[in-house]
Symmetry: D3
Subunit: 239 residues, 6 copies
């Protein structure tokens, strides 16, 4: 059972994490999982949304989007359609939720960080690449804030990375590319901390429902994939 690109079932695609890809953002990363390229920009703002004012707590949020020609055929822009689709909403919320556990929002003070994750090219796993890259951009943005003494404490209390797993032709596999994703019977996205705990587990039976044994195998693969990604994040951050 070989994969289209020759990988073994438990192998990640080549991963690159390029910091400081943008000149203006307080943190920015071009993250690549094989042919999937996501540009992650972290923007610091010295205020919080209205409903949070006076709480002493900061805020982190994320927006995910895809360029119209990131994919094989062109998709209409959501700005032109005048509304954001369900998938975009869902992924934006997932990214924000996944990154929040990395931060002590009290130590952040009443500041906000917005993570923009724009998919320049898509080949499967865009949401997990976005989370993995956004964490590094977030870490850089926090460092930028600390250098300027904007925060009452040290807000960065953990790290997260994410990976997709799925069952193809009966074989559980790690980090699916687009053609694999399309043919997967079960598809799962897993977000984990650098210390190996779960932040989010989202498994979906695309075709046939799956049993507990398959679920356990997929979780094993995801644990090993996230662990390797956490290592690559640490290397990228030079720590």
């Amino acid at each position: 059972m070989s994969r289209t690109d020759g990988r073994t079932p438990d192998q990640l695609r080549p991963i690159t994490i390029t910091r400081d890809w943008l000149a203006h953002a307080e943190g920015s990363v071009l993250v690549e999982f094989g042919d999937t390229k996501v540009l992650c920009a972290a923007s610091v703002q010295d205020n919080v949304p209205r409903w949070r004012k006076g709480s002493g707590l900061g805020w982190v949020t994320a927006e995910y989007s895809m360029l119209p020609r990131a994919t094989n055929t062109r998709n209409d822009r959501e700005s032109v359609k005048g509304r954001i689709g369900g998938r975009t909403h869902e992924i934006s919320r997932l990214i924000g939720r996944s990154l929040r556990p990395c931060l002590d929002l009290k130590a952040l003070g009443e500041n906000s960080i917005v993570l923009d994750c724009d998919v320049l090219q898509a080949d499967g796993g865009t949401r997990t690449a976005a989370i993995t890259g956004a964490y590094v951009a977030l870490a850089d943005a926090v460092a930028w804030m600390r250098k300027r003494k904007m925060c009452p404490g040290d807000p960065l209390v953990g790290s997260v990375s994410a990976v997709s797993v799925g069952v193809i032709g009966g074989v559980p596999m790690l980090d699916l590319c687009y053609t694999e994703d399309v043919s997967a019977h079960t598809d799962m996205n897993v977000v984990m901390t650098g210390s190996g705990a779960f932040v989010e587990v989202q498994g979906t039976a695309e075709g046939a429902p799956f049993d507990r044994g398959t679920l356990d195998q997929l979780l094993d693969l995801a644990v090993s994939g996230c662990s390797r990604l956490a290592e690559l994040q640490r290397e990228a951050l030079g720590s």
Copy 2:
């Protein structure tokens, strides 16, 4: 460790499934999980979306919504705001995805079934109640179609039910009500088939990330809850 309503950690709330609540819909159910009340209506249409025409396959989709005063304080209507929120989109997609494995879309022929799940009153677990009730409405709609010989085959090939589980004060618990949901550190929604396989697993660390052992305990609880719900669905359908 007792729960606010006196239940044991592995106990469901009182569940009622009232069929034929509406006069016009081909299938309709008022489902109650304690104080959570969701009206599920299945509408049969003898056509499919444009992108599906000529495929010989049917389609199932779902729309979730909450009445403005389903909750403790009033929420603005999404029709008035002019756009559907991220949470609504996400849940609508989840319900549709969860019900699709119940059907053989080829046996359905080029017909559509739309499941409208409107929350009349909310007390936690609205999305899992919606899935559980929508399945029963779907089964009634399919029976309605078969009586009229609209389908080339028998499209109903399985059943689904869903339940929420979470960790409160360190204790894994089944079927959270609203006050429990708010104080849960980890929150998981699980959708299962009547035969005990997983259709969807969505776990989120609201506060602290969770370890593999906790994940396993939550899955055990969900398995037992869904099994009981499947029994109640069978009873309601008189089979």
Copy 3:
């Protein structure tokens, strides 16, 4: 000349007014005019719209909506279409305008009451059922406020009820159901106070224009219908 459901021309359908149908709302009523079922929820807010601040006056407003499968065939949701239709706007404005004369807005103080009228099932006369039910929910919400001493005075200074009348096959009839409404040449909605004065009169020639004599007969029918509805409201409120 008998009606589809055997009523005489001047007879209302069976009317039921169920109070406290919802757990959270300050006032809530499920009102039924035959098969028409409208859920009316009154929400109290301790503030007023911005343009009213500092006036010392309260505010009452209403929002009408229909569940997608309230009707014989499914209608698309206005939240999905991204805009509220003309009919919805018009009825929401009518309900708010009709209820305002029941209240002394000075005695209400700078508080607001929002009446949500959601049609769960439609069989003609949904707007008049909504007004009739919303008044009872409003009365309950005002009682709730007075118990908490939120108002500077007693804001409830009157009551309103509403009914439809129309000419079918040349015969003026009271409280039209859907099939009657569709075949009516003239259609009129009348809102009256409990003391027998007019709040709103909206008559439309659907087919042939109507003369002064017909108008007078329709008004007579409406007067008797509203008088009976006012009685039922008083009974429901136990006064």
Copy 4:
């Protein structure tokens, strides 16, 4: 009891009806009720909306709008706000409904006429002026069609005009200007055919509810006003 502009209670403002105000429209009228100026354009289209295709019947619809500076203080454009307000919707629907009885839609054939009523300057009674002017534009558009033999028959089977009436300081008055409209306790818009039958009656108690006697007096005033307007329409059309 004299009016701000010296009129008697049963007197219309000076009315002018200028035909062919626009070069392109098949029928166009600038109608003035005192300082209220509405530009009415009738556009002929040789097709009908999709839901009407193959019915053999024509269609008439109307759109009402106000220029931002038609009023004393500037209003934001609805195109800029991105949605049409409730009042605009309501009046557009009223105008369309009022004009439809003038036409035999079968004799019109599968053609449409759109009536655009744009208020250039507002001083009360814009909707009734719009209906009165739109009828004349409609008559011109039908004449234009008949000259080109577009219709299977003669579609113009009647005429309509409209006027507002109200109670100010206890006195029923005809054709209210803006300052009168604002101080009226009861406000009624009446649409009548040229032959003296009612097409639409919309009465609203702005302040105190009104009794049957007042309603009758207002209807008397409206009948005389519409009769005079029908005369002016006939003069304008030179028939």
Copy 5:
């Protein structure tokens, strides 16, 4: 080479500038370039947009729109479509930008002037007619403000007018009507001050690109046209 309406290539259409066309606006002008009729209303507001508060500077902005039947065939309303088109946006921005150089925004103080330019009838050159008319409405609005001593100084420091030029059948021509505009290979709109300087130059090759010599000829024509329009503006303002 004669033009459809018999003009010479360097001749403007008949121009009329009618001041005080509206009763309510602080300045209002009906400007006509042949059959093109634009109603320009200047609205004074004693405040500035939020981002300008505390700056001591005033603000001028413009909104351009076309009535649906200003043109030969009816266009859908942008309010009904729920969004403003690219062309409308572009012209609104051009008008605002063109008028700003007429004003010393410091001398205006923290007041705003909104110019609404509504095309009642279109026959080419609507944007240039709008700018030319809007200047006169603006001058009247400033005079109105100065009479009320609303401004710290004299804000009117210059004038602007605008005209279109184009190449038709190889011949450069001034002030194109609609049929000329459609057949022009090159189309240019030029905005100039009353003292003969350029405020905006927008030239577009509709068909074949144009050379420097043609550009110079078109600019010469525009200079003479704008100079004549400035004269007509001065006459209209009686200065």
Copy 6:
């Protein structure tokens, strides 16, 4: 008079044109004018918009957008705001208009090419960089089509490039970066063909109006800049 980055007034910034930056698009270019980076993707579609069907002619259109953190401070996404701003519309229309003269739309046949120009990083001149890069992507897309024999003829009949010019401190300068753009009194964007003719000239007096002499100097600079850009485009295309 030296520029912030040491350039002479008539010198372009370093320009790079990287072809095939994306894997999926039929033509794609990352174009850089100094720190301004625009990703241009050309998408081929084997059909035309509905209004063009049966004409035998092809179509070219463009959409311009900026990533939220392309700029110094973060801008809200237009997809989130639910509407496209005036500036975006204006630039999208300019790009489409500028590229159309490069093509013989009859030789293109009934095919469409969409040019997506997404600004990844902004430092002034984004629209002129977009036009310059989009031409190269367009040329590649046409080559892709010709290889597949999709076109009845050779559609590429010319080339375009574009550059900004402006007056800063009285000195006319070529290719303004952001800080220069902000302080420019006059700002002009010029689009020219590879053979030296004008396609679009857009000059705006940001502060003081400008005279004919300045206009001529700016045009001279633009001519030389576009000529150099055309050379770079030819080099990039290896022709």
